[in-house]
Symmetry: C2
Amino acid sequence: MSTTGTSATTASNLTAPTKFLEANGEQYAYRRFGQGPGHPILLLQHFMGTLDNWDYAVTNPLASGREVILFDNAGIGRSSGKVPQTIAGMSQHALTFLDGLGLKNCDVLGFSLGGMVAQQMVRERPSIFRRMILVGTAPRGGKDIMHLEKPGLSKYLHDPKLQGYAVLSKIFFAATKTSREAGEAFIGRLIERKDDLDPPSGPEVAANQMAAFREWEQSAGERFADLKSIRQPTLVVNGVHDEMIPVSNSYSLAENLPNAVLLVYPDSGHGSLFQFHESFTRHVTAFLASDSASAAF
Amino acid sequence: MSTTGTSATTASNLTAPTKFLEANGEQYAYRRFGQGPGHPILLLQHFMGTLDNWDYAVTNPLASGREVILFDNAGIGRSSGKVPQTIAGMSQHALTFLDGLGLKNCDVLGFSLGGMVAQQMVRERPSIFRRMILVGTAPRGGKDIMHLEKPGLSKYLHDPKLQGYAVLSKIFFAATKTSREAGEAFIGRLIERKDDLDPPSGPEVAANQMAAFREWEQSAGERFADLKSIRQPTLVVNGVHDEMIPVSNSYSLAENLPNAVLLVYPDSGHGSLFQFHESFTRHVTAFLASDSASAAF
């Protein structure tokens, strides 16, 4: 099913074909679908996530108003190359990919690891990006970023009964009935796609991305100073019970970015965007529809 | 212009007549206007604020879909009685007022001091209240609540050049050009109403309300335990640069209320709802329109 080219052929991550772009000696796997009056939006994925980890309940409502571009960074899924051990290295690949597509102006939504890459990209090439959405992520110098050895997470990661996506229904969601049910529904949506799938990420991906988290936790000089130069209107979103990247990191983003609205969901963890996909996509759509200088929408 | 009765005669706080309700030996001044399919909403006011401190840019969009009820608590404006020195005392008067109106089910929006009274009312009489909106406020046991002696606030409160409402354009807004301009616009709207005005609050009001803040800062037993029993879907809103009741108090509300969405605005202070009145009323309208068990909207 893989094809090359940049035109959107379908507007769902259930069916959108995986495409490949050659740029700077690498081959990047991506999907591009949707259309409408909005700016194209680049979606940047979480730890170990591939193209197949994007919940269509999130991507498809966005694709009804604009092109959505999903992207495997170097060494992920069917993209060539090695997974960088720094966020800066991942940002370089993503910028090379955008340049290869010829995209000169777009919005960006980064989830978790992807939110760190989004911040780095916006700082390095501010002219490309119009508006930014940061979900379940942290600024450089953030606290308690992806410490999977914590008991609240490791008990699920080392549970032999939880295989594949099943672990996500635990670690992305809060320990309540409603959140767990949302987790099951999320997994149910992910496994609907049967063809043209990425290979899952393995231990080397995990190790290199984990190294990037550890580097991102370090802050040289004034803490959060990096954020002060980001002028893009930003929407920061988190679940209040996020154990993977605690909500205090979203507070730091909102307090130190010059122009960010903060939206925090109850009864949810790292995957708040998947749990509250209707609310999330409604707010994101309203945020992206605004041309105001202010992030308020 | 004062009349009695409970029917709405106009849908703007620019022109709504002040009415009076006798209940339990007191006379309460209020305004009630607007109509539509929504539940009536009670608005509870800030430190020293009267009926005339409600910005019509906030009240009127809400009144286009429901009845809006503004209320002078005991000893404020043209209401009789003494200003209580506790939030619990203010809550008792507000519940007496609601009972006098015969309201058995409504929503409530509390700003600053009013948000504390709203929390107390919802805890005491949960059956009356459907949904709650808390703006620029703090839970019992909150931190740094209304310490007007802080340099960042006292410099405006003791500036002889700032008279009347002018001080609000400083202390309710952030020290940026855009926020200051929003403050000027806010004051401009407040002074549009020329007739049927409340007398401004004096030093005794200030002293008694300040005593209530000091009492509210105290926490007996487990901090924030009061919040755990509040089941109402809640929307918590604040400006990120609020100096009067810092945003960390809104974090505590969102983290400890079982079912609260948090929305934080950039470039704004205590009066974020007045600065971003279009966004604020749009979000509040969407939140109130929801009948979901979840606060997410």
